[in-house]
Point group: C2
């Protein structure tokens, strides 16, 4: 992980006249072939410039041979690490560059990886690993997240009634959209699995008159959520429980989980279905799962999985339907894909993050800033190019015909 | 298939004093155990009455021992056949009786049947079998269907903006709902797979200004549809093609299939996905699949499959997502479960069918009337109890972000 300046001179080995010339030439030709399909300009440490034929949307400056070889060997992982380390730079618009990269990579034969993804899901999700994985990401400090999330500290996809809505409005609209889909009525009870900093639980209690038991395994988040409940005088109506979703006991009229499923792991989907079935009112119980998903089975980017979200796996809709809901005979009533809303949410977060970059660097370091910049831009590109989806799935008991005849009332003012 | 009167005297073998008494007693005890969970009263040919403890919703009169044994051996198939033959009668409300029956049967351990259902799907769906199967049901004569369908001859689930809507209004509303979900614009092209008597194709051309190529393998339906296109002056904008969906060629802005998928067979889902992918515009192409589905994998009732809808298989949402859409990287944008709308549609059809029963009997015979009465009531019960679902799945190209930000405009007047 040497700094760029120290390695760029060591790159003198990149000499067309050296004995390794044949290997180098093959490498250059390979690179040129890859770049031919892209709009990327590549600048190497010795000044060599390689470019695609379709115009340039971004310039990638690579500081040493090792970095270049690493990226060729395992693009997802090594590009991310090199970006974090500062061993390469992207000049130009990072988002456009990443969006066009998704276009290049996705054409590769990924079916075998897709099959492998079934097994990846199994490696994660036992309770100790879940706590460790969640701690890695969500316990970075509430002060850090406060720098760039909305006031309510909602770290999931917002819902923009109109593209120009503010992030604050869109997060409130998302919570209302979820509550309307759940048809919450005053006096009812709700179980929430994976409650973040508590915004949705508090919103449901305050605006829909329900009582909520909300579960989370991030200690930092639970602590913050309890403080908010006390400050807002809602501690009698919202209980925040520091426990894994598998520990959920009791029954409720509604079950909701926003942004947890992608951290649960395929091997635990059946257990989640069992929990939902056990908790939900046997006649009128209904539920909502909001999660990052995929069109096709694929592993998550190796870099995201290792450096940002250990244990994460975005499932296909079929996997959730088949493994969580089907074994318990739950009826899928409504599915909405909010992918473009997540791209918009991430655009807001990125702008706020960039504005707060110097404060983030003071909290952590420049490497952390670069890592998160790539993570946020990469996620935005993934949603804007359809590489990731955001599914909201509403479900109910199979014999329950209590849902409204149409979805029109979701859209009444 | 003897008439009830001739067999009821042969039932003298049902004698508590005979040497077969032990077997008979075991049979009676078994029946009593089954009935204990139901609200059915059973009257046997010799006057024996068996009843559950929970009050009576219907009385089933069984006319002979063979019929009773047949029902115990394979309830789904033999109950239906005996009902068609008149070897048993249901006194009281047929729908309530069937609804409560779904409640009893579904608690049985059906997982093994569910697994078997994967294979059932494979046995059907080659092109010759498809033509034969479709002919069996849809070529009963347009005059027959005209007796009890709406004016537009739409033989799929309607969409009731309000439960009191007429069937005519609800079928038009369904077609509009589909067109709005597809975001049809004047001048665009649409491919329809499985077009029935052509109502949707003509509706799209007339009200949305699109050009339609509509495919069907029912000759009776195609003939009728072409006549309508001529009568309405739409023959230049709607082409009805007598061909299997696998023969579909050309490209279109939208792909739609309403009520075909349940006749396609699991083994052909991938081929359907290939056809959709081949036809749909590579950038903005979008599609809609409207089909009868299931919460869980199970075979369709043996009686329905053998006597009413040969080759039919209602899939789970997961099966359609995984086999049709996932291999082609198509994004699921919206899923709506219209199960209660199908129950309401069937209630309309049943009322109209009952009113036309004497004319149906004159066209066919009383046995046919009984068969269809059971089929329509059984289907209504299946939807009202959540044993069957009706899914409308809207999908698009994975990179296409052209869908509106929210679904609100589907619900604008």
């Amino acid at each position: 992980m040497s700094a760029p300046s120290s390695t760029s001179s060591a790159a003198g080995s990149w000499n067309p006249a050296s004995p390794r010339r044949r290997v180098e030439r093959a490498l250059l030709e390979g690179l040129q072939r890859i770049l031919a399909r892209s709009r990327v300009r590549l600048v190497l440490w010795d000044g060599t410039v390689l470019a695609g034929s379709g115009g340039t949307s971004a310039t990638v400056v690579v500081h040493d041979l090792r970095t270049l070889l690493g990226i060729l060997w395992d693009p997802e992982l090594h590009f991310g690490d090199a970006f974090s380390d500062g061993r390469l730079q992207v000049e130009g618009d990072l988002l456009s560059f990443l969006e066009s990269s998704f276009g290049t990579w996705r054409d590769a034969p990924l079916d075998a990886l897709g099959r492998a993804a079934r097994y990846v899901g199994r490696r994660f999700g036992d309770r100790i690993a879940s706590r460790r994985d969640v701690h890695h990401h969500y316990d970075l400090g509430n002060d850090f997240y406060r720098l760039w999330l909305d006031e309510g500290m909602v770290y999931t996809c917002a819902y923009f009634r109109s593209p120009g809505d503010s992030l604050e409005d869109a997060q409130v609209a998302k919570m209302d959209h979820v509550c309307r889909k759940l048809r919450l009525r005053p006096g009812e009870t709700v179980i929430e699995a994976g409650c973040g900093w508590g915004a949705l639980a508090l919103h449901m209690a305050r605006h829909y008159g329900v009582r909520v038991r909300a579960f989370n395994i991030s200690r930092e988040q639970i602590r913050h959520a309890r403080e908010r409940a006390c400050a807002e005088g809602l501690q009698g109506r919202v209980e925040f429980v520091d426990a894994d979703f598998r520990s959920i006991q009791g029954t409720a009229d509604a079950f909701v989980s926003v942004g947890m499923l992608e951290h649960v792991g395929l091997a635990n989907y059946r257990a989640l279905g069992d929990v939902i079935d056990r908790c939900l009112h046997p006649q009128h119980g209904r539920g909502l799962l909001h999660f990052i998903g995929r069109n096709r089975m694929r592993p998550l980017s190796a870099w995201i999985r290792r450096r940002v979200f250990p244990g994460a796996y975005p499932p296909t809709l079929a996997q959730v339907a088949e493994r969580v809901l089907e074994p318990r005979d739950l009826s899928i009533l409504d599915v909405e894909n909010l992918r473009v809303h997540y791209a918009a949410t991430l655009a807001h977060w990125r702008r706020r993050f960039d504005s707060a970059a110097s404060r983030v660097a003071a909290m952590f370091d420049e490497r952390f800033v670069r890592t998160w910049r790539l993570y946020l831009a990469g996620s935005e590109a993934a949603f804007s190019t359809g590489y990731l989806q955001l599914f909201q799935v509403t479900f109910g008991r199979s014999r329950d015909n209590g849902a409204p005849w149409t979805r029109a009332e979701l859209y009444e003012p």
